[in-house]
Structure formats: structure tokens, C-alpha cells
């Protein structure tokens, strides 16, 4: 089936992207918080294959960037000092997937430093920060979306299935949550918390707030589906045979919501990644020096950075393939769901 293949392709793309971020320690050449105070705002080093004499090298290399005399952030390539890339080298310690201690890196340059995406104001490697920052942002998006859907699913199903005053109550609460100004809510929550929030606490705070605020929309979707599903003939029949509420929900009604939930997930995850970025951009996210895409972008709040160092925009660009992946997946899922529905309907009429 080409539809199934579409979904598979998008899943593969997303899996690869997430894999790289998940194994950030391996793909990133350096520790993301390590400062190289001699090279602030170093531009990305260009990868070369051909040297000054026109000779081709299979192993890519970069030229050392040297500070132009009497300047702070102007560098020139020193063509007398090529620095070849080494693959699978040992470098800074990290923990793969959070628990496997390792020192193996995908690439490096031995004892010297190499910055393929440049450095920030403190000489920290932008590539490493991007990859590690992705862990925070993506995980916040995934967890946030997961919690949101779980809450939305439970509440939506309960409201739709039981109906009556419970439905009214739950849906009014949902509307209340839709109406909340969540950014200001977060400001308020942050003000009540103790002064120093460690990165982990800050992270879970963000996830909790995003999830708690976003459940209303999926809840309403799920409720709609449950409302129509519980009136289907086979559900009525099952009820007539004495099936319990739990059985009905589990066996007949909730499976109907799966395609909506999947599509919602594919839409919500990038939205929530963006929400995390917004919060971190405003300084409400994980604190420095821990990177996240949002606080990497917050450097751009300064006019001088905005006009001087283009590589500081990279955290904004890196979201593009991820978002494209998720949105592609969402539309592929949608298509599949539509086809499934049509198929079922035609089966139904045949029977």
C-alpha cells in the first residue's frame, strides 16, 4: 500500500532525526557547556576537500581560523594550518541515552578544536549545543503532547460517553482552559516557585504547564467521536447483550478515536516544541548554561547579534526538517484514516 509506505517513510525520516538528537553525545564533538574563551563568535569552519595546491583529499579538513589583529570577532582562515577531521575519536565524556558512559564521538580533531557550526558568545560549540538543545526541546514536546493527549482522551471519553451534567461540566472546564492566557499563567507560576529552579525542575514545570493547558482541544475531539460511536448499532447491540461500560469503552468506542489521536499527536508535538522554544526564548525555560533551542535563540534578542552573526539563527532553521517530518506524518496519517473510513463504509453497505 502506498499510503502505508508514506507513513513509513515519514516515520523513518523522523526516527533518523530523533536518533541523531537522542545520541547527541556521540554526534556532538564537545560538551555543550564547555567554553573556549579564545574563540567567541567564531564563524562556522568550512569543510575543504581540495587544499591550496589543488590536491584532493578524501578526508575532509578545515583551516584554523585566526583572529584578525585588533579585532574581537573577525577571523581569517590560516591556510598554512589545515586540520583534518578524525572520525570515531575519543573526546569529552558523556552519557549515551543518559546512562551509558562513553567518550566515543562521531568526529573530532584530536586535541584541537573544530567548529563546524561556529561558536556563541562564550566560544561554546554551536553544533553541540544544537544537538543537546534538541534533546530538551523535543523531549518537552513529546512528553507535553503525550500528557496532553492522555488527559484529553480520558476527559473527552468520559464526557462523551456518560453525557448529561458530567458532559456539561467537563466541557465548560475545557472551555475555561482554552480561554486561559497560558503564557501569563506560566509567569505567575514561576513567580511563586523558589528563586533557584534547577534545570530538571524547570523542564518538568514547562512540560506540566504545556500539558495542563492544552488538553481541552483533543478532549473535545475525542468527545465528538465518542458521542457518535456510542450510538452505533454494534455498540447498542453489545450494550443490549449486557456489556459493561468499561468493556464498551475499551472494546468498541475508544478504538474509534485512535486515528484522531495519532493525527493530533503529530500536530501537537511540533506545536509543543515551539511552545517550549517560546518559553525558553523568554527566559522561562531551562536555565543557562543548559542548552535548548529556545534559549539558543534568545541570543538573537540583541540587535548586535542579529546583524553580526548569522549562525546564531541556526536553531531556528533546525526545526524545519523536524516540523516538516511531523506535519508530513500527520497528513499521511490523516489520509490513511480517511481511506480506512471509506473502506469500512463500503464494507458496511455490502454487508
Amino acid at each position: 500500500m502506498s499510503r502505508r509506505r508514506k507513513v513509513a517513510i515519514w516515520l523513518l525520516v523522523l526516527g533518523a532525526l530523533h536518533g541523531v538528537v537522542l545520541c547527541a553525545g556521540f554526534f556532538a564533538p564537545y560538551d555543550p557547556v564547555e567554553q573556549d574563551r579564545k574563540s567567541p563568535y567564531l564563524p562556522p569552519m568550512r569543510l575543504h576537500f581540495v587544499d591550496m595546491r589543488g590536491q584532493f583529499h578524501l578526508r575532509p579538513f578545515v583551516y584554523v581560523l585566526q583572529l584578525r589583529p585588533a579585532s574581537f570577532d573577525q577571523y581569517v582562515e590560516d591556510t598554512t594550518r589545515p586540520r583534518p577531521l578524525k572520525f570515531f575519536t575519543f573526546g569529552d565524556r558523556y552519557r549515551l541515552l543518559g546512562f551509558l558512559p562513553s567518550r566515543l564521538h562521531f568526529f573530532g580533531a584530536g586535541d584541537e578544536r573544530i567548529y563546524l557550526l561556529g561558536t556563541d558568545a562564550f566560544g561554546r560549540d554551536q553544533l553541540s549545543r544544537l544537538l543537546f538543545g534538541g534533546q530538551v526541546s523535543l523531549l518537552a514536546g513529546l512528553l507535553g503532547a503525550g500528557f496532553t493527549l492522555l488527559i484529553g482522551w480520558c476527559i473527552g471519553a468520559a464526557a462523551g460517553y456518560y453525557g448529561g451534567w458530567r458532559d456539561d461540566l467537563l466541557m465548560r472546564v475545557a472551555e475555561l482552559f482554552l480561554a486561559l492566557p497560558w503564557l501569563y499563567l506560566l509567569f505567575a507560576i514561576r513567580a511563586f516557585l523558589p528563586l533557584t529552579v534547577n534545570p530538571l525542575q524547570a523542564f518538568f514545570l514547562i512540560v506540566a504547564v504545556i500539558a495542563a493547558v492544552g488538553w481541552a482541544r483533543p478532549a473535545r475531539l475525542v468527545r465528538g467521536i465518542v458521542l457518535s460511536a456510542k450510538e452505533r448499532d454494534f455498540v447498542r447491540a453489545a450494550r443490549g447483550f449486557g456489556a459493561s461500560h468499561l468493556y464498551l469503552l475499551r472494546r468498541h468506542i475508544l478504538p474509534e478515536t485512535s486515528s484522531v489521536l495519532l493525527t493530533q499527536a503529530a500536530i501537537l508535538i511540533p506545536q509543543y516544541v515551539l511552545a517550549e522554544m517560546t518559553l525558553s526564548f523568554l527566559g522561562l525555560g531551562v536555565p543557562e548554561p543548559v542548552p535548548s533551542w529556545g534559549n539558543l535563540l534568545s541570543n538573537l534578542q540583541q540587535y548586535s547579534v542579529l546583524v553580526s552573526y548569522w549562525w546564531m539563527y541556526l536553531p531556528a532553521l533546525i526545526m524545519v526538517p523536524f516540523f516538516l517530518g511531523y506535519l508530513g506524518l500527520a497528513s499521511a496519517l490523516q489520509e490513511r484514516a480517511e481511506a480506512y473510513k471509506i473502506q469500512r463504509r463500503s464494507f458496511g453497505s455490502l454487508a
Binding site: 557547556v33 567554553q35 574563551r37 567567541p40 574581537f72 570577532d73 565524556r93 552519557r95 558512559p101 558568545a121 562564550f122 566560544g123 528563586l195 533557584t196 534547577n198 527566559g283 536555565p287 543557562e288 548554561p289 540583541q302 540587535y303 548586535s304 547579534v305 546583524v307 553580526s308
Partner: protein, 599 residues
């Protein structure tokens, strides 16, 4: 103020008055000011001769609240008032020395108690009214009066002994000090002489506080400065015009100021100011950050940016050494045990990479400092103050001596722990609107990580930061900056004295908490009444050394004063003292002539 939100602007005038306890033996009857038809005695300024006319546009960080120097508390108001008012004796911002202003000469008695000031002939306010000794008496009476509700008032009550002011004749005024006062004639700088003919009635009615609002008609306000009010458009701009009665001239005898109009555009943030300057909407820019300075210097078209050298702003880290009592959390009490140990503070200081701060925060446009007297201060720095290089070994030795030790974690990272085995962790507060200090904090965080200290940086909105530091005292450490308004030690008096409100690590103490604080108090008070510069300097040097030994504040760096102007602006010589570019506003001129300057 971009770099120095912690300016204590309001206290600036207060400090002065706090030091000199004025009172006025007022004359019971005010006779009408004598009409003085004597020839005008110009103050002739040396320097490049310019051409008259044209308008100059500068940006102001926001709307000034008032034009009334008696109630002006914010930096913006003071900047505007600075070009509309004049003082008796003025500090030249370039030489940092005093110069005659409204007083053409002054004499100090041998015992240092009596100052006799002789006023210029033919002085007139910007509305054409004559100014004489009665206005001086009136001004000081107002400054001292309790019912004026001037910000100066509170501190005037503190002083038991007032200075008396009396008039000898229409041109001569005598100030009598209760005891010798080391600051000397510098105290007259910034004390505007007020127009008695306009303010006497509101003063008697107790309505002085309501005078001088921006929306008032121009003729309700007058000053002795180079400019007077012409037009105010709320939210947009303030237009000042040339004061035709100004009392300075250039070497050719042309009456200053050269400029026909001076316009302040209200531009609320630093980046927007840079954009306006770049696009040519404003003619001058000051208080530039290093990053914006390098952006501007990279694409100089039609303008020049200048580095005036290190200023008087000092940035520092300080520890919470307040006596917080039993109500404080156990956590803070435990941390204060470390903070109170001078060796701990010295260890932190030795671990700070000041060179990196100057380089990464100020892009080499600044200076590392080890005390609060910056290299920008020409006379008061202590040459014997040690400038130790960064040394982690020294830090470790000091920490070991103070009973700290290290443990190694599972990832091979070492953690510093105190004698009770508790890990050393604390937070640094910074102002969330100040990118420079946030960067310093990030650098310190990394520096201290190398000692095994776990430091968190907490950016806070400035007002709540100030509240924590001065009111609730719930914080560990904090990075701040103060800009002295004058090179004289007098301007930092409230930082030095343990009773001072800006003695940040433990402000407003009834009695000095430590021996060394008491010693500093003593030295500072002694230098205030010392007679000669050499005596004062010796005492002040000693105070600087004690501060450096004890490190309640760990001094980090001082930024250069960076400014820029269009090439068409003549006599542009930024100074390291406030107002950085407008200090010689009367001499600024437009080279291209007024016809080209209109927009």
C-alpha cells in the same frame, strides 16, 4: 541607563546634601532684586570656534518626568535638566577638576570653613530676568526647606549642623561650613540656581513640587543653562531652544550655545537608539554597549564612534552578609557561614577570570578592576592595590585552609564540600535586562565550576532584584554595577560607609558588623574632613586596601564610555563622566550649517 540601572540616581543629589548640612539663616525681608545693568561678564571657553544655528537631535531613554531639579529622580530628567540649569562652580567633565561657572571666582579661608563666591556680572535667566545673590540664597533655602518635599529633605534632617549662607552684596555670597570639608568646592556642582522671581510664590504656597512639569507653558520655567524649553510632544520628543541670555562665549566673543535647537527623541531601548542613529534620525549616541559599538564601527558612513576610555562604572559580585537572624532559612544560614569567611571570598575572587570578562563581555573595551576606583578615575586610584592574576591553585589553597574539601562524583567531576560535608552550591542574581551582567554571571559560573562549586544564575527583573537585596535579603550572591557620578570619593560614600544604603552586602547597619568595616568607616569619615588632597588620598588608599583584603565585593570589570556622532557635529568630545556627550553641549555645533541641518 544601559549599563548602570543601579545608579541610585535619586540619591545622587542626596549624597551631596547628606554630606554638607546646610541650613540657611534667611533674611527676613526679600527686597526686590536689584536691577543690574552692569556689563555682562562672559565665561570665555577655549577650544574650536564653531558656527551658530542648526538643530541637534539626540535620543533619550524615555520621557523625563519633570524639569524641576527639586523633584527629579530619574536619569532622564537629570540629563535634560543638565542642559537647562547651571551651577555656581562646575566640574569640568574632561579634566575632572572644578571650574568657575556662575561664580566667576571663589576664595576659601585658611581654616577651610568659609567659602566666598563672587558671581558674574549681568547674569540673566532664560526668560531675561536678572540673577543675583538673592537667587542663590533663595535656591539654598529651597533645597533645605522641609515643606518643599524635595528628595534632599530627608537627608537634611539627619545633619545636626547646617552650613550657613549669607549675602555680602548683590554679587558676593559666603558659605560657612561647620567643619572642614574635604570635598570642598566640588559640592556646588550640580546644585542648580533657581529662578526666585518664578518660584518664590509657589514656594511660599508650598506648591513647588507641582512646578516644572513638561506640559507647562514654556514661560513658567526658567534656568541658567544653555537651553530652554520650547515644545514638548508627549511620547515623542522634547524640543529645547537656545537660551539667548546664556553667559558663556567662545574665544571670538560669540555667545554660546551655537545650536539653535536641541531635540530629545524618546527612544526606550538601546537597540532602537542604535537603529535611529544608524538611519541618521539622531546626530549623537552615547552609552553604547560594546557589541553595538562594534556594529556601528564596522559600517561607519557619515558618522564616527569614539571610545572615550574606561568610565567610572564598576561591576561586582557581592555576597549576602546581612545579619538575617533566625527567621532566615537554614539553607541561607549555612551558605552565610561560607560567605562570612574572608578566605572563601578571596578564593572566589582569585578564581575569577577578569580578562575573559573584559574580552567576552566588553570586547576588550573595558578594564579589569580590583577595587571600586576604576582606571577612568584619574586621581584617586591606589597604585599599591594588588592586581593578582587568576589562580585556581591559590583558590584551592585558600579553600583548603578554610576547611573545604573535594569529593569526586561518578562522572569524574569534583564537588567542593564544606567542613560538614555539604556541597557548596549557591545562586547569583542578575538583572534580566542587563545582557552584560548576565554574561559575567555565565562566565563566573564556569570559573567556579572549576573549583567544584555549583552555581546557578538567576536572572530577575531589576525591581524585584533590588527588593531582594535591600529589603527581604533573601539571596545568596548578586552581580551589580554602580556608576560614580564624580571622580571624588564623596560620590561613593554610601557604598563605603556601613550605615550607607548602597553598602550592598549589608546595607544601613546601625553599627559596623565587622572590625574592618569599622576601620573603613573611620578612614572614610576622616578623609572627608582632611584638608589636603594628599592627606585624603592616603586615607582613601588605605580604605581601598582594606576592601581589597576582605573582598565583600568582588570587583570584576569597568566598561569604556562609548559614544558616536555624525561627522557634521563639531566639538564632539565624549567624557567619562556624566553627561557623557552633552557635557559641552554649548560648544557643540553643526559643521554643515543650519540650512542643511533641517530635516
Amino acid at each position: 541607563m544601559r549599563n548602570c540601572p543601579y545608579m541610585f540616581g535619586r540619591y545622587r543629589i542626596l549624597f551631596r546634601l547628606f554630606l554638607c548640612f546646610f541650613a540657611l539663616i534667611s533674611r527676613p525681608a526679600f527686597t526686590k532684586a536689584q536691577q543690574n545693568n552692569a556689563k555682562e561678564e562672559f565665561l570665555v571657553l577655549p577650544g574650536e570656534v564653531g558656527r551658530s544655528g542648526g538643530r541637534l537631535v539626540v535620543s533619550l531613554r524615555g520621557e523625563p518626568k519633570t524639569l524641576n531639579p527639586l523633584i527629579a529622580a530619574d536619569a532622564r530628567s537629570r540629563e535634560v535638566i543638565g542642559v537647562m540649569q547651571a551651577d555656581l562652580i562646575h566640574i569640568n567633565r574632561a579634566t575632572q577638576l572644578t571650574e568657575p561657572a556662575l561664580a566667576k571666582s571663589w576664595k576659601v579661608s585658611p581654616d577651610g570653613l568659609t567659602y566666598t563666591l563672587v558671581l558674574r556680572n549681568g547674569l540673566k535667566f532664560s526668560d531675561g530676568e536678572t540673577m543675583d545673590a538673592e537667587d542663590v540664597l533663595f535656591s539654598f533655602r529651597v533645597y533645605l526647606d522641609e515643606n518643599t518635599h524635595a528628595p534632599q529633605r530627608d537627608l537634611l534632617i539627619v545633619g545636626g549642623k547646617p552650613i550657613s549662607v549669607r549675602k555680602i552684596d548683590a554679587q558676593t555670597v559666603v558659605f560657612q561650613m561647620p567643619k572642614p570639608y574635604g570635598v570642598g568646592e566640588r559640592l556646588f556642582d550640580g546644585l542648580a540656581i533657581l529662578p526666585r522671581h518664578l518660584l518664590e510664590k509657589p514656594f511660599q504656597e508650598g506648591k513647588l513640587g507641582q512646578i516644572g512639569s513638561l506640559s507647562a507653558v514654556a514661560n513658567q520655567w526658567a534656568g541658567l543653562g544653555p537651553f530652554r524649553l520650547k515644545e514638548y510632544i508627549a511620547g515623542q520628543r522634547l524640543v529645547l531652544e537656545r537660551n539667548p541670555y546664556y553667559w558663556k562665549s567662545d574665544s571670538k566673543g560669540t555667545r554660546l550655545p551655537y545650536l539653535g535647537e536641541l531635540i530629545f527623541l524618546f527612544v526606550p531601548n538601546a537597540d532602537a537608539q542604535v537603529l535611529k542613529f544608524q538611519s541618521g534620525e539622531t546626530d549623537m549616541i552615547s552609552q553604547l554597549g560594546a557589541e553595538n559599538f562594534s556594529v556601528l564601527s564596522r559600517q561607519q558612513n557619515g558618522y564616527t564612534v569614539t571610545d572615550a576610555g574606561p568610565g567610572l562604572e564598576y561591576n561586582f559580585l557581592f555576597f549576602n552578609l546581612n545579619d538575617v537572624g533566625v527567621k532566615a532559612s537554614a539553607d541561607l544560614q549555612r551558605k552565610q557561614k561560607w560567605f562570612r569567611d574572608a578566605k572563601f571570598r578571596q578564593a572566589v575572587s582569585a578564581a575569577v577570570d577578569r580578562e575573559a570578562i573584559v574580552r567576552l563581555v566588553y570586547q576588550d573595551r573595558g578594564a579589569a578592576i580590583w577595587g571600586l576606583v576604576t582606571p577612568g578615575n584619574k586621581r584617586w586610584g591606589d597604585p599599591n592595590l594588588p592586581h593578582p592574576q587568576r589562580s585556581l591553585d591559590r583558590s584551592r589553597t585558600l579553600l583548603k585552609e578554610a576547611g573545604f574539601s573535594w569529593t569526586t562524583g561518578p562522572n569524574g567531576e569534583s564537588t567542593l564540600q564544606d567542613s560538614d560535608g555539604k556541597p557548596v552550591e549557591f545562586s547569583i542574581l542578575t538583572s534580566s535586562t542587563n545582557a552584560d551582567r548576565a554574561k559575567m554571571a555565565a562566565l563566573l559560573q564556569d570559573d567556579l565550576k572549576q573549583l567544584g562549586m555549583r552555581v546557578q544564575v538567576v536572572p530577575l527583573e531589576f525591581r524585584s532584584l533590588l527588593d531582594r537585596v535591600t529589603q527581604t535579603k533573601e539571596y545568596d550572591t548578586c552581580i551589580m554595577g554602580v556608576a560614580s557620578y564624580d571622580a571624588d570619593p564623596n560620590s561613593d560614600i554610601n557604598v563605603w560607609l556601613s550605615s550607607g544604603g548602597t553598602h550592598l552586602w549589608n546595607p544601613s547597619q546601625p553599627h559596623p558588623a565587622t572590625r574592618w568595616e569599622a576601620e573603613i568607616d573611620h578612614l572614610i569619615e576622616e578623609q572627608m574632613s582632611a584638608r589636603t588632597f594628599e592627606q585624603r588620598k592616603k586615607l582613601y588608599d588605605r580604605a581601598q586596601e582594606i576592601l581589597a583584603e576582605n573582598q565583600p565585593m568582588i570587583f570584576l570589570a569597568s566598561p569604556d564610555i562609548l559614544a558616536g556622532a555624525k561627522n557634521s557635529v563639531g566639538n564632539f568630545h565624549p567624557a567619562v563622566l556624566e553627561p557623557y556627550v552633552l557635557w559641552n553641549v554649548e560648544q557643540l555645533y553643526l559643521k554643515s550649517g543650519p540650512e542643511n541641518a533641517t530635516r
